[in-house]
Amino acid sequence: MAISRRQWKTVFYHLLVGLLALGMIYPILWLVASSLKPNDEIFTTAYSLIPSSLEWGNYASGWAGFAGNSFGTFFKNSFIIVSLSTIGAVCSSALVAYAFSRIPFFGRGFWFGCMMLTLMLPRDVTIIPQYIMFSELGWLQSFKPLIVPQFLGIPFFIFLIMQFIRTVPADLDEAAKIDGCSKYGIFFKVILPLIVPAMMTSAIFSFYWTWEDFIHPLLYLNQPELYPVSLALKLFLDGESLNNWGGMFAMSTLSLVPVFVIFFIFQKYIVDGISTSGLKG
């Protein structure tokens, strides 16, 4: 009797949690399904997840893009911006994290405090002067305003990597020092190999944030041939392309593919990163 009641509870649990989970991902499934439906079917049987016929043509018509710029261009732009930003963000953050957690330099506490404040600074306050600054530098209509600031350390990643360096025993530094290592040597030979997991987590989030970033490209780029994918998707909502629903769903789906692929490969890093530092995904 007791066992059967427990089994019922388990069944009920899976039913509840499973249905809720299905509800959570239903919109995503719907997006993928709609990307394969013929244009006239998308909204007539909107509730359905099963297309009457697989319409791969949506992907071709979406990929063709706008006014001669195909999604090949947009994906290429995104990959350039994302890879350079990510390299810059991770390398610079690792250097700063080492300084903050291992080198007792004058003013360290002050700069660390500044960094924690930056974490909470609303973006709106800096966005206008930054725009003016970049326009005076002649950097508008280039990737520079999107990439260069990433090379100057990202507070979230600095914090995350610091948490990780703290778990590396200080004895290791001491031993390396006795062996004649300088602070630089300790960083490259002792610390760096040990903080690879934290750098991976940072790289994954840097990828997500720059891949999905919309407001910065919107500000700095207005020539379609420079658009990253996020900004190019907006073009489906403008003017004459308005009726290519299938193409819009197809390219939206495609824009999420890298996100999903990275999630399924690196799930552990992502979950650990969020759990230990409160990074938002």
Binding site: Y26, L121, P122, P129, I132
Partner: protein
């Protein structure tokens, strides 16, 4: 002595990227936007000093501004508590060691992973459109609805709130990590003492999670105040219908980059900075009444 000296040089060498970025992209912009906020500046001519005009106009002569404040407050006050409640509720459901839990966790987390993207905002505008998924599903259960949830001023903001709440996954993961840190014997001891589940939740779970709730509350509130992309995409950059989705960031963007009123927009940014600072301070101040730190605990 020589060695310590060295530490300073090496320290600054390693910290240089942050210090440079901080001065260049944070300190300078924050203060120059304060200066711009007292000027009229359209990027073409030099800024001209107007004193407090921008601030006065904002609070006395700009109905859209008042509207955007009320829209933003509604958005923040609805989406943040709902999101945290869902995050905590689902985290408690998933805090079990049974087969398949990893799969559920991924399913709940996925929306928050992609939620900020343009693709999802586009998806959302179709899900809640006049012939979208929601109306279609309602039709299946016999409720005919053909008005667009996005186009209807009464429901437009709620579609944005729903989008935000849907992304409770990352907070859920943080809560889940916190729940796993609560020793099992607390609950065992409590049930021996005859405390039921509800009582255990309020006496054990909630107090022990309260530092994490505080952290989540602050970060989520700040980011909710700054929400931009979904409002921009769903309302096609307009904040409509009837300014019902004119979130603060969107209005600021329009003032700055559609009308090129950099001075006015900077003043808006500073009001936001001060307001968000006060709200954060308020949350911190209130925390002494409800956040429980285990070190001084009596358990």
């Amino acid at each position: 002595m020589k060695l310590r000296e060295n530490d300073h040089v090496v320290g600054y060498a390693f910290a240089a990227p942050f210090i440079l970025g901080f001065l260049l992209f944070i300190v300078y912009p924050v203060f120059s936007s304060l200066y711009y906020s007292f000027t009229n500046y359209n990027l073409l001519e030099a800024p001209s000093w107007v004193g407090f005009d921008n601030y006065t106009k904002m609070f006395t002569d700009d109905e859209k501004y008042a509207k955007s404040i009320s829209v933003t407050l509604n958005y923040v006050l609805a989406s943040v508590p709902l999101r945290l409640a869902f995050a905590l509720g689902v985290a408690m459901l998933l805090n079990k060691a049974i087969a398949g839990i990893g799969l559920y966790r991924s399913a709940y987390y996925l929306p928050s992973l992609i939620g900020g993207s343009v693709a999802v905002s586009i998806l959302w505008s179709q899900v809640f459109g006049d012939k979208g998924l929601v109306n279609s599903a309602l039709g299946l259960i016999g409720i005919e609805s053909s008005t667009s949830w996005i186009g209807n001023p009464g429901t437009a903001l709620w579609t944005l709130i729903a989008l935000s709440v849907w992304q409770f996954g990352s907070s859920m993961l943080i809560f889940l990590a916190g729940l796993k840190n609560i020793p099992k014997d607390y609950y065992e001891a409590a049930s021996v003492d005859g405390a039921n589940k509800v009582r255990q939740f309020f006496k054990i779970t909630l107090p022990l999670l309260s530092p994490i709730i505080l952290f989540n509350l602050i970060m989520q509130t700040i980011s909710a105040f700054m929400t931009f992309t979904p409002a921009y995409i769903i309302s096609r950059g307009e904040g409509g219908p009837l300014d019902e989705t004119l979130l603060y960031s969107l209005y600021l963007y329009k003032r700055a980059f559609t009308f090129y009123e950099m001075g006015y927009a900077s003043a808006m940014a500073w009001v936001a900075l001060i307001a968000i600072g006060l709200v954060t301070l308020l949350i911190f101040q209130s925390s002494r009444y409800w956040v429980h730190y285990e070190s001084k605990g009596d358990r």
